[in-house]
Subunit: 212 residues, 2 copies
Amino acid sequence: MAKIDLRASAQQSNDAVAARNRDLFGRNGVYVMNFIGSPGCGKTSILEYTARHLDGNFAAIIGDVQTAFDAERIRDCGVEAHAIETGGGCHLNAAQIASTVANIALDRLDFLFIENVGNLVCPSAFDLGENIKVAVLSVPEGDEKVRKYPALFVRADVVFINKMDLLDRCPYDAERVKEDALKVRPHVRIFETSATGGTGFEPWFEFLRSVR
Amino acid sequence: MAKIDLRASAQQSNDAVAARNRDLFGRNGVYVMNFIGSPGCGKTSILEYTARHLDGNFAAIIGDVQTAFDAERIRDCGVEAHAIETGGGCHLNAAQIASTVANIALDRLDFLFIENVGNLVCPSAFDLGENIKVAVLSVPEGDEKVRKYPALFVRADVVFINKMDLLDRCPYDAERVKEDALKVRPHVRIFETSATGGTGFEPWFEFLRSVR
């Protein structure tokens, strides 16, 4: 009996759609970022702050298991935002992105933010066709997350350490986190921010201006 | 061609092993808790505080994608702790628990803590044979998590709202969270704690004494 590896097959099918997405994004000159992090690490707040303070044309696709709260928050910044409710699904896949971007005028955009489902494990394995993966950590989560969830950090091009304003109240060694991240991904860019306080964003904005 | 629902089949197989685990736990008179929450919400800290301050015989099984840091923390409290490294897996399953408890003298225990992989989505669907599911939330994550991740909260028998010591620094409506949790699970027990500050644990200890 032939043994079929269903997981590998699903992955190949996802990768094929992701490649088509990537081609579409490239032809339209839009830079696409896939934000991945735990529930409540500040993904939406980072998008909000960026959309409010950086010049450019943005749109956002926001994945959530249920509810469209985060998409509404992004719309409140005057940014086009599309919610994908996965109905229990623990990550976004390339086909969901393909059908959503069919409703977005990509040629008018500079940047497309994709906010993945709040989950530090499953989303890292699924290419959506993005230019970069952005891992979002936050200070209250503790400083061992790079070591505990390596699958994301070997693939992340950018790492945020968010909620830096809580450093005085949470035991957290940011230097250790940076060392851990650089060890598994030597060219990763690391930004230390407080999205609610609006600090630390200038290097991130410079990065975005450089890739635009 | 017959269509096979592989997900349903895997679920049934897990449920069968979970039922055998539950039977084994019952025969040995050990009360088993499956702790589920985001990375860094305080699951391990709650177990540490409980093991240090409540009388009883404990053991713990600690799931992580990679590393055994949390199991080591529990051992430092003088509690037998077994690490399950899932190697990328996003949740524990009943078979992993069955093979781990084969190495634990269950008849000497009052309580077995299972700390699931840090993930608010996937672990909620997998019965391990536990007596209760314990959902752990924390204040810095934000107060909309019950609405955003309903699959866990319709099944949780206990909800912790942890890191209450950060209420003064994080916008968080604990009353809203409690209302949301009671709406989807009317008999849920809710404990508001600070595991690092050691506050709010007495009602939880009373609960554990009552089920022992």
